[in-house]
Structures are given as structure tokens and as C-alpha cells.
């Protein structure tokens, strides 16, 4: 009764947060009982909840007690499994360490309890009402396709991909891909093709950062040469003039090479990002086909919910390398989280 009076008197404000690599996105919707009155979106270049974010949110929430703060689960140890029964869940994840829920009693989604506590703790000044799994967003967003297709469905975020394979609304496979870790894994696997059976954790522990090896080591070498030149100038020995000339030439050559490396690095980065995504997806599909726990079927199409604006390269990789029909649909994550929060309240 009191709630009805309250909802008649006050607007509902939905604050939707999702954390990107180096900034936090806040999407706000102010609703009447039925209609959208106002929506606003802002990015804050920070990784933690700061005063600016709190002030920004408070400017919308100060007039109403009916505000709901939702966040997209940023945990790296989350996922979904094609089972919902308690007994079968243990095959896919440790339910004692995870918080999980069932989607329409068909499949389950889970996240680490520790990560959940950490999110709650980092947002304790603000308080949270809903924490949603990206797999739920994905399932809702592609509801029309999931119900009638056998396909791969992706939710692409800046540093992660929620990958799921549905066959007429039955989940066959799902994996949450953390692109940073995947990238390191991929580099490692390129070097050593025999390491297919090494687990992700082992790879993380043993991996070598090849990025830093490629460029930084070269620059370190240059520094060493620089030191040699200093020593020469102090001692001023004539006999070594030829050697100096040789060294200068070598230095010039190395400098030219480093400039070339630098100009290449940007295009390499873009190439890396797309290839990183592609290889992560490819590995994931490979796991789906090879892992006996999953009912593997031949996949012909892939639907991508794109929140970052993926390049055409990724599309062409997927089309040319693994012969998939690629369909990309733009997604506003803030808006989708808001929709889900509104559905939760009904």
C-alpha cells in the first residue's frame, strides 16, 4: 500500500554501472510508472568508486527513495553451465565457492562468491541492488534468435567476451573469456603447439610476457650502447675512432629500427586485439568440440552483441578462418542492464 503511494509520488531511478578497462560507465534512467522521463550516460576515468561518481549519482537519487543501482558482474571467474540440477552442477563449477542461479530451469549462471563480496565491498558507499551476469544480458538480448537457432552468441566487452552456444533455447556451452589472460595464453600457445592440454592457471603461472621481450629488450640494448659511447667520450682514445664510427652507424640503424617498431606497434595493437578476440573465440569453440561434457554440434553462425564497436577484421577472421556466418548487433549495455532491473522489479 505504502509502496503504491510511493511509486505514485516518486519517480523510479535506475542507475546502471558497468566497469570497463580504465573507466566506469554510468547509465541512468528516470522512469515514471510507465514512461521514460530522462536518460543520461557518463564515463568516469577511474577504476574505483570516487566522489565524482557518488555526486553524479546522488544528483539523480536525492529526490526519490526509489532508486536501484545495478551492476554488470565484472568477475573474471564467472560463467554458465548447461545444467540446473544441484548434483550435475559440480561437473562444471564448485558450487560451494560460487553463487549461482537458474535461467528458466534450463541452464545455470554462476560467479565467484569472493568476487561478489569484493564488488559489494568496493561499492559499499553507494550500495548495490542488482548484480547481473553478462550471460543473462546475452540471453535476453538475443531472445528472438536463441529460441529458434543453433548458434554461437557473444557479448563483447572491452576486455572480456561472454560466449554461449544455444540450440533452440537449450544452452550447449558457455564460457567467460577474459581477453587479457586469453592473449597471454594465446602467445604462449603459438610458441609451443604441444601445450594444448595445459590448463589456464598453469599457463598464467608459467607464461612469459612476450610483448615486453619484443620491444623493451631492444631498447634496453640501445641503452647499453649509449653507455659504451659515454665511456668512449671520456677516455678520448684515438685508436678507437673507427670503432666509434661503426658504433654510430649501428646506433643509427637501431634507432631507425625502433622508430619502425613504434609505428608498427599501434597497428599491431589493433591487429592484436582483433586476433586476440578471434583466437579466444576459436579456442573456446575448440573446447566445445573436444570436451566430452558438452553435447557438441556443428555451428554455422555467430551472433555478436557488440558494446565496443568491433572491427570488420574480427568479422572477416570469423568468416574466413572458421567459416561462420557473422551477425553483429549493437548493444547499449547500460540500457540492457536497466531493462533487466526493471523486469526484476515487476
Amino acid at each position: 500500500m505504502l509502496d503504491k503511494i510511493g511509486s505514485f509520488l516518486y519517480h523510479k531511478v535506475f542507475i546502471n554501472i558497468y566497469i570497463k578497462d580504465d573507466y566506469i560507465n554510468i547509465y541512468i534512467e528516470k522512469n515514471n510508472s510507465k514512461t521514460l522521463i530522462l536518460s543520461d550516460e557518463k564515463n568516469f576515468k577511474t577504476n574505483t568508486l570516487d566522489e565524482n561518481i557518488i555526486n553524479y549519482i546522488n544528483s539523480f537519487t536525492k529526490d526519490t527513495p526509489y532508486f536501484y543501482i545495478s551492476i554488470l558482474d565484472p568477475s573474471t571467474t564467472q560463467g554458465a553451465a548447461p545444467v540446473c540440477e544441484h548434483i550435475e552442477i559440480d561437473k562444471f563449477y564448485d558450487k560451494t565457492l560460487s553463487k549461482y542461479g537458474c535461467y528458466k530451469d534450463k541452464w545455470s549462471y554462476y560467479t565467484s562468491k569472493y568476487d561478489l563480496d569484493e564488488v559489494n565491498n568496493s561499492f559499499r558507499d553507494l550500495g548495490l541492488d542488482f548484480i547481473f551476469s553478462p550471460f543473462i544480458i546475452l540471453a535476453k538480448f538475443f531472445q528472438d534468435k536463441i529460441d529458434s537457432h543453433l548458434s554461437i552468441f557473444l557479448l563483447v566487452q572491452e576486455s572480456s567476451i561472454a560466449l554461449s552456444i544455444f540450440d533452440n533455447s537449450e544452452l550447449l556451452f558457455a564460457q567467460y573469456l577474459n581477453l587479457k589472460n586469453e592473449f597471454e595464453t594465446e602467445n604462449f600457445s603459438i610458441d609451443d603447439d604441444n601445450n594444448d592440454e595445459i590448463t589456464l592457471d598453469e599457463i598464467q603461472e608459467e607464461s612469459i610476457d612476450l610483448d615486453s621481450v619484443d620491444v623493451d629488450n631492444t631498447l634496453d640494448d640501445l641503452d647499453v650502447f649509449g653507455d659504451i659511447e659515454d665511456l668512449d667520450s671520456i677516455e678520448e682514445i684515438d685508436e678507437f675512432t673507427d670503432v666509434d664510427e661503426e658504433l654510430e652507424e649501428e646506433e643509427n640503424t637501431l634507432n631507425n629500427n625502433s622508430h619502425k617498431n613504434h609505428s608498427l606497434s599501434e597497428s599491431e595493437e589493433l591487429f592484436d586485439e582483433d586476433y586476440q578476440m578471434f583466437s579466444a573465440i576459436q579456442n573456446s569453440i575448440k573446447t566445445f568440440y573436444e570436451d566430452e561434457r558438452y553435447d557438441s554440434q556443428f555451428i554455422e553462425s555467430i551472433y555478436i552483441a557488440d558494446s565496443i564497436g568491433v572491427s570488420s577484421d574480427l568479422k572477416s577472421y570469423l568468416e574466413e578462418e572458421i567459416f561462420l556466418n557473422v551477425y553483429i548487433r549493437q548493444i547499449n549495455l547500460g540500457s540492457e542492464i536497466s531493462k533487466l532491473a526493471q523486469v526484476e522489479l515487476k
Binding site: L2, D3, I5, G6, L9, Y10, P65, Y66, F67, Y68, S70, D73, K99, G101, Y103, Y109, T111, L116, N120, G127, L128, D129, F130, I131, F132, S133, I136, L340, V343, E344, L345, K346
Partner: protein
Amino acid sequence: MTYSYINPREKTLITSELKLLFIFFFITIIMLLMTYLFLTYKNYSFKQEHINIEKTKQNLTEDLNEMNSDIKFIEKQSAVSKKIFTQNTVLKDSITNMFDLVPERITLSEAKLLKNGLILYGITPNKDVYNFMLQAPLRSIFHNTYSSFYPAQNGWLFFVSKNYIEDDISEDDSNEH
């Protein structure tokens, strides 16, 4: 239908400020109610006290009236007693005077004091002593004096002297003979 890992915090129309306001109003109302109850009780108490005082007052008035009547009665009694005392004093004086009147040679054997008279019985050596020494003063006091004598064995005379105030002469006369 809940897909969130956590449950939403309870939203209430009553914010902390409103809660504080409600608490303030609640306390105020409670205080007013208590004051009202206290005053109602006091009012009732005063009314009861008033009734009691009225009753007491009535009782006291009744007592006062009773006491006044008692006082009047006592005053009357006092007046009567005073009168009696006065009469007794008068009587005593009269008796004293009477005995003073009796000479040494006459001996009284009986005296009767009447409302309007005096009857004396006694013995006298002779009539003259009686006439001169007793009858003469008695006549000065009483309007009518009647004396009768009869002889005693030793030669003296017994006498009966009846003395009356004037109003009762006729009556006394009739009583005498």
C-alpha cells in the same frame, strides 16, 4: 523472477528524515496524549475532591447547626442553671436569713419552704418571746402570717408558724382551715 545475484535493498517511502519527523510527531502526540490523560485524571480527581469537600461541607454545616442548637440548648441550660443557682443562692440566703431570724431562746424542730411561703415548727418558752422575737421579723417579710400554739410537757409551747406571700393568701387560708 530474479536473475540478480543479490536481492535489492528494501525501498521505503519513509526516509531517515521522515522517520525522524515521524518519531518527533509520535513523541509529541504521546506527550499530548499523556498530558490530556493526566489532565482528565486530574479533572476527575478534582471533581471527586470537590464532591467530597461538598459532602464534608454539608456534614460540617449539619454539625454546625447541631452544635448551634446544642449551644442554644446549653445556653438555655446555663441560663436555667444560673437561674437555679441564683434561686438557690437566694434560697440559701433566705434560709440563712431565716435562721438568723430565729432567736436563741426559740428552738426550731422543722421548717418547710414552700413556693410562696414558709412553715416553721418549733418550741418557745412563751408566746411573747415568739411574738416579739420571731413573728415580728416574719411579718416584715411575708404578707400573711398565721401562728398556732399548743403546750409542751415542760411548760413551753410548741408553735406552728405559717407565712405566705400575698398572692397565695386565699389558697393558704383554705389550706389552713
